[in-house]
């Protein structure tokens, strides 16, 4: 079946089996391997992408269900030159070690801070509780997201 959607601001069209989930479609059909698969049953959050402005688990969406939507992945939150404020904060606080859960953390944090730039510590932790990390123990990730809030409070969003 054909699925047409916006990926990081560009229109894409893919022919996929209905059973293919969006994560596999992004990784295998569209060459965007930044979105990772840590469980494929909707628990770990490594596959989080932003669909129509909302953070979602891309292993729990069929690619064909993304028809007509706007999808943003971790690649779409990057530029080729300087790190974004969110990325800078992650690096500064050592909020990543192996890097496998990181794309899901970044997309989730970006979606949260875009809507709630004043999210407090409890809110940030609560939202990130849907993303598993085995390396960092989460504390530096929470610190990084809290620091990045300042950039999202400005009128020009990153």
């Amino acid at each position: 079946m054909r699925a047409r959607f916006q990926l990081n601001g560009q229109p894409v069209a893919v022919d996929v089996e209905p059973r293919m989930h969006l994560a596999d479609c992004l990784r295998d059909e569209l060459g965007q391997t930044g979105t990772h698969l840590g469980c494929e049953h909707g628990v770990c959050g490594a596959c989080t992408v932003i669909v129509d402005g909302a953070a979602v688990r891309s292993c729990l969406i069929l690619a064909v269900q993304a028809e007509g939507s706007s999808v943003v992945t971790v690649e779409g939150l990057s530029t080729d030159d300087a790190l974004t404020p969110l990325q800078t904060a992650f690096r500064k606080h050592h909020a990543l070690q192996c890097g496998f859960c990181t794309p899901g953390m970044l997309t989730t944090a970006h979606a949260l801070l875009t809507e709630e730039p004043d999210a407090d510590t409890a809110r940030v932790r609560s939202v990130l509780s849907g993303n598993l990390c085995r390396c960092t123990g989460y504390i530096p990730i929470v610190e990084a997201v809290l620091e990045a809030r300042a950039a999202y409070r400005k009128t020009d969003k990153p």
Partner: protein, 288 residues
């Protein structure tokens, strides 16, 4: 884990959706997919056809009025969280939904999906049973409305026929001065409840309980009301003596399963604790 192969349709009307379901004994309906897709991934569900409701109009409305609250099947958890009027129109619903899973799941998971999936530890089925909600289904034979208490028949089982689609959840009107509480205990935030309690009661002019409703999730084969506890509460003012009695009856009458995560005795005690804390919470004034 990849699902078995299946066909997929996203029909434009409800009628088409129903006909597609009726046409194939192995067809399944999909809305948010947050409960279904993990089953597909684990190959616990092996449909031949998925019927997606995403193009069918009119299924995601939230209507709040003097008659109560009506939710369409595609209403998502975040829609409930974001819907301002629900804070007064049904605070118990909003509070319960805040406990569902995680941020990303709440952006996709739906009312209809949760009711149809019928996990005994899920929040919405618990609220539905506690509040004597009504569930409307549409199938080839037409439409019917079932009381929540009769809709859920066991773990992951309901009276819904395989050609039927849930089209509405109706919650009766919620008076503003109602006393209520929702408490859930899970090992980690967002996990399914080891046990949870939804309760409400009204007070008559002498401060005595009227219309008590207590529902339990996670500690039974399906959401159930603790009717014996309700009986003992009705007609009396809520004080520590009454709470102690209520707790003792709750512990006695709940019949929890024994499973991987908790022995029955623990769940029983947990229900008792939550009933106690829930009743205490319900007596406290609320800001709205």
């Amino acid at each position: 884990m990849k699902p078995v192969p299946f066909e997929y349709h996203a029909p434009a009307t409800l009628r088409e959706a129903v006909e597609l379901l009726a046409s194939d004994p192995d067809a399944m309906v999909i809305a948010g997919g947050q409960s279904l897709i993990p089953l597909l991934a684990l190959r616990l569900a092996t449909p031949s056809l998925l019927v997606d409701l995403r193009r069918v109009p009119g299924l995601h409305a939230i209507a709040v009025g003097d008659g109560g609250v009506r939710l369409g099947p595609r209403v998502r958890w975040r829609d409930i969280e974001d819907h301002g009027p629900l804070e007064i129109a049904h605070p118990l619903l909003q509070e319960a939904i805040a406990h569902v899973a995680h941020y990303q799941i709440r952006n996709r998971g739906t009312v209809g999906g949760s009711l149809a999936h019928a996990d005994p530890a899920a929040e919405l089925p618990g609220v539905a049973v506690t509040c004597e909600a009504e569930i409307t289904l549409v199938g080839v034979a037409g439409s019917r409305t079932i009381r929540a208490g009769e809709f859920f028949t066991g773990p992951l089982t309901t009276v819904r026929q395989r050609d039927e689609i849930i089209t509405e959840l109706y919650l009766p009107f919620w008076p503003r001065d109602r006393h209520w509480a929702f408490l859930k205990f899970a090992q980690r935030q967002g996990d399914f409840a080891l046990a949870g309690i939804a309760l409400f009661y009204d007070e008559d002019q002498d401060g005595r309980v009227r219309n008590a409703h207590i529902g339990v999730i996670g500690a039974c084969d399906r959401p159930r009301r603790l009717t014996e506890v309700e009986t003992v509460l009705n007609g009396r003012p809520v004080d520590e003596v009454l709470i102690r009695e209520a707790v003792e009856i709750a512990a006695r009458t709940v019949d929890p399963p024994e499973d991987l995560h908790a022995p029955a005795a623990y769940r029983r005690a947990l229900v008792a604790t939550l009933v106690q804390r829930g009743l205490r919470r319900a007596t406290q004034p609320r800001s709205v």
